[in-house]
C-alpha cells in the first residue's frame, strides 16, 4: 500500500483519483464502526429492527462509506490534506456489498502558500450504483 504525498504541480484537472475498493461489508465492521463513532442506531445492527422499520434489513452507516471516501483521498494525497469533504448519501450499502470509491479533479488553484485542489468524489456498489456523491477540497504542498 502506498501512502501518497502528492504535490500540487503533479495534479491536472481531469485526473482520476486511484479507486479504493472496500468490503465486502460485514456485520462485524458495522458493529465496530458503531463503537468507534458512537452511532448505535439498531437499524445498522439488528436485522429484525431494520425490517420492522421498513428498511428491508440492516444497512451500513452512511458515515462508514464517507470514511471510505476520505480514505481514498488520503491514500492518494496523504493524511492531513483534506480541507473540506461534503457528501450526499445517495443509496444504502447492504451487507456483502463491495464499495468502490472514486474521484476526479475538477479544479486547481494557488494563492500565496495555499494550494487547493477540488475533486468530485463518489462511491458505488458492485452494480455500479452510486451510494455516495460529493465534493472534496484538498490542501496540497508545492515543490516550489
Amino acid at each position: 500500500m502506498r501512502y501518497g504525498r502528492v504535490y500540487v504541480e503533479d495534479v491536472t484537472v481531469g485526473d482520476d483519483l486511484p479507486p479504493l475498493v472496500k468490503g465486502p461489508i460485514q456485520q462485524i465492521q458495522l458493529t465496530r464502526y458503531a463503537g468507534a463513532s458512537g452511532d448505535f442506531n439498531p437499524i445498522h445492527q439488528d436485522d429484525e429492527f431494520a425490517k420492522a422499520a421498513g428498511m428491508g434489513g440492516v444497512f451500513a452507516h452512511g458515515m462508514l462509506s464517507m470514511g471510505f471516501v476520505a480514505q481514498a483521498l488520503t491514500d492518494w494525497a496523504g493524511a492531513g490534506t483534506v480541507r473540506k469533504l461534503g457528501v450526499r448519501f445517495a443509496g444504502l450499502v447492504r451487507l456483502k456489498d463491495v464499495v468502490t470509491c472514486r474521484g476526479r479533479v475538477l479544479a486547481r488553484s494557488s494563492k500565496d502558500d495555499l494550494h487547493l485542489v477540488d475533486l468530485e468524489v463518489w462511491a458505488e456498489n458492485q452494480r455500479g450504483e452510486k451510494v455516495v456523491t460529493g465534493k472534496a477540497t484538498l490542501s496540497l504542498p508545492s515543490r516550489g
Binding site: Y3, Q29, R32, G67, K84, F89
Partner: protein
C-alpha cells in the same frame, strides 16, 4: 397519522459540550474504517510528522457526541422515533488537524428544517451545524449534517 415536524426548532442551540481527543479513540476509529494509515495509527510516524503526533481521520469529529446535543436529543425534541431517520448529507470543513490530548468545545445548532416529497414519500430534513473550537475560541472543524425523517 402523519408525523408533523415542529419548525420552531430552527435556530435552536444545544448546550455546548467539551470533548477531548483520545489517542485510542483515533486508532479505534481508523481501524473501524479499515484504514491502516500510519499517520493515524503509528505513534512514531506521528511524532516525526509535521503535527508532532498522530492525527485523526477527516470524519473522526462525527464521534463528538453529547446526549443533550446529538441527533437523539433533536429527535426527542421533535418526538420522532430513531427507526424513521436516515443520514442524508454530511460535510466537514477541517481548519486544523486533531491530535491526541487536545480539548475542544462543540456547539450545535439547528440551521434549517424543510419538507419534501421523494420517491419513498414525504420526508423532513433537519440541518444541523456544529462548530468545534479550541481554547482560544478559534474554529478547528465545522460540521454540517442533514438528517432525513421519513414522515
Amino acid at each position: 397519522m402523519p408525523i408533523r415536524i415542529d419548525t420552531r426548532i430552527v435556530g435552536r442551540e444545544y448546550p455546548p459540550f467539551p470533548v477531548t481527543v483520545e489517542r485510542g479513540r483515533i486508532k479505534d476509529f481508523a481501524r473501524a474504517l479499515g484504514d491502516p494509515n500510519p499517520f493515524y495509527l503509528d505513534d512514531r510516524v506521528g511524532a516525526a510528522s509535521e503535527w508532532g503526533d498522530v492525527i485523526a481521520p477527516p470524519t473522526f469529529p462525527i464521534s463528538f457526541r453529547d446526549e443533550r446535543a446529538d441527533s437523539g436529543a433533536i429527535l426527542r425534541d421533535l418526538g420522532v422515533d430513531i427507526s424513521r431517520v436516515l443520514h442524508g448529507e454530511q460535510e466537514f470543513e477541517i481548519h486544523r488537524q486533531l491530535t491526541p490530548g487536545a480539548s475542544y468545545l462543540c456547539r450545535t445548532r439547528v440551521a434549517d428544517v424543510y419538507e419534501k416529497t421523494g420517491r419513498s414519500g414525504p420526508m423532513a430534513f433537519v440541518v444541523r451545524e456544529t462548530a468545534v473550537t479550541d481554547g482560544a475560541g478559534e474554529i478547528v472543524v465545522t460540521m454540517r449534517g442533514v438528517t432525513v425523517i421519513r414522515l
